[in-house]
């Protein structure tokens, strides 16, 4: 795997992007904006399920509007995240905190998908079931945890 990481780092266009202050800043910008879209919209839907936001509005229309933005954000995060990872793959790959971040993000995505799939059923019920609130709470906590884990990565890897 480390050999593969080493190969990633040597890809010419990855080298060009990583060594250009303007291009790598653009990649960071896309990563941040994508993450804000992904986490913010997902968190808002979770807050609605928990009864802490927009209680006077139905769940499904709100989610129908917000969740496509979350998926757009995810696409931006994956594309930019791959470039950021590839540029310093041999440094990122063996680092525990980076693996922890990826684990939390994957878990948050799984919970996000479960919430999204069950939303129409919860909307038809006379009240949001307790299980739904636990799922939404887990999703919210995982996404907020993912932000912290993402910010801890540079703290544990000097020079990133």
């Amino acid at each position: 795997m480390l050999r593969f990481c080493g190969w990633l780092e040597q890809i010419p266009w990855i080298v060009t992007v990583t060594n250009s202050a303007a291009l790598i800043s653009l990649v960071w910008l896309v990563h941040y904006l994508g993450f804000f879209l992904l986490v913010g919209t997902t968190a808002f839907v979770d807050l609605r399920v928990l009864g802490a936001a927009a209680r006077n509005q139905k769940l499904a229309p709100l989610a129908g509007l917000l969740l496509p933005m979350a998926w757009t954000g995810l696409g931006m995060v994956i594309a930019s995240g791959f470039i950021m990872f590839a540029g310093q793959a041999t440094t990122f790959y063996p680092t525990e905190v980076f693996r922890m971040k990826m684990g939390i993000v994957l878990l948050a995505l799984v919970f996000g998908l479960i919430v999204q799939r069950r939303l129409p059923a919860w909307d038809r019920a006379p009240y949001v079931p307790a299980g739904a609130k636990w799922l939404a709470f887990a999703s919210l906590a995982l996404w907020i945890g993912a932000i912290l884990a993402g910010l801890e990565v540079p703290a544990f890897i000097p020079g990133i």
Partner: protein, 161 residues
Amino acid sequence: MHTWLVGICERLQNIPLVVWLVTAQYAYPFIQWTHFTGLSLWLATTLALDCRLLGAGKRFQTAAQLSDALFSWNWLGLGIAVLGGFTLFSTAAVGYIDNPAFRLKLGVLLPLALAWHIFVQRKSRTWGRTPETPRVAKLAGLLEIALWVAVATAAVWIPNY
């Protein structure tokens, strides 16, 4: 004026709590975390309304309904972002006030984007009564997206100085 500002920033940087935040290992990401959590809520709820004004998801809700749903958490998000942002600023205030990207962000782009957001949010009640929004609403939404992308670009550029 500049000397006076530097003096205030120096005093801010030397507040014992701020000194502790800078010197304590791994404390700094927690301040960034507050800023980024607030920003996620603020930007996502702001850009969602802009996208709706542009015509996205018109079969789900009107822009007025969406604006009403997002309003409280939109401003709560900004409050959290400002709290985290001010704390981040206080950890290196003297350096920040002379950083051209920071000055552009805080002095020009952020006030402009905020004022435009307040205008768009207020007008969305009128523009967003029907599923189809008027052309002026679409232009206003597009301009707001451009303004916030400009704010974020300036923010990302800060470490390059």
